[in-house]
Symmetry: C2
Subunit: 158 residues, 2 copies
């Protein structure tokens, strides 16, 4: 098997309006965390009809190592229900191409209803890119917006 | 993909002598833990030329759910070196068939040198089985022998 490690460089933004909705179909996501410690985060995710386990290095600056493996969706379902920290996060994700990058927009449900986050993955930390017109304020450095933190401190308590 | 969840029912023993050595070739194992909390353990393992990520339910009695996925060996190497709790555990494993069951014998290295554990996986908690003549005292319930605990409290400190 080929190595599947990738360097993740992600920038996060709020949105200005709902124009993104007409640019892509939403896919249902559910994700939860098996662990979140000083060195790593282990995430289980269902994305549409697929399941994944993802191991991420704890953030150091903008970029971090990420290892993602597809797993059977039924396994992901059991892991989310029984072994992940509760509650898990459910959201609708839109994937929108813009100027050769793919933007992901998450409409987060349940205790984070009303929170909408746009994110883009880059190749290098200093890569320049253009924001789509519906993208607003950057929140990359704000830990409140990390999915792993939205479980303990959801948007409806801010 | 088919679900890969299995119920793990494992019993552990000390060995009486080194007769097991002539019954199989040893394979090099290295394993470490990304996390170990109330609900689950996430283990990274190199076994010979393969890599694995394994998610185990925390023990409740003899049996627990286990989800194991093969991953690229190079990924496992990076995860062991950079994201797992240190030190990791290195051992030689012998796999020995006896009366239609496979016994694993681990010779653990480094701070656990001298510790040799034989284990067998069963289908049900009340399954009867015969012990090979070189297998000694049972230590199934003794948490000191869990690999995850041998990191913090190694055999050379007992």
């Amino acid at each position: 098997m080929k190595p599947t490690m990738a360097l993740e460089i992600e920038r996060k933004f709020l949105v200005k309006n709902s124009d993104y909705k007409r640019l892509a179909e939403a896919v249902f996501y559910q994700q939860g965390y098996l662990s979140n410690n000083e060195k790593s985060v282990v995430r289980i995710r269902i994305a549409g009809d697929k399941g994944f386990v993802t191991i991420k290095e704890q953030s150091v600056g903008l970029s971090r190592q990420e290892f993602e493996y597809e797993i059977p969706r039924n396994d992901a379902r059991t892991l989310l229900d029984q072994l992940c920290e509760q509650p898990t996060i459910r959201k609708k994700r839109y994937k929108i191409p813009f100027n050769s990058l793919i933007w992901g927009v998450d409409e987060i449900d349940d205790n984070n209803e009303g929170l909408i986050i746009a994110e883009v993955e880059l190749i290098s930390e200093d890569q320049s890119f253009e924001k789509p017109p519906w993208v607003g304020e950057e929140v990359t450095g704000d830990a409140r917006y990390y999915n792993v933190n939205l479980i303990k401190n959801p948007f409806n308590k801010w």
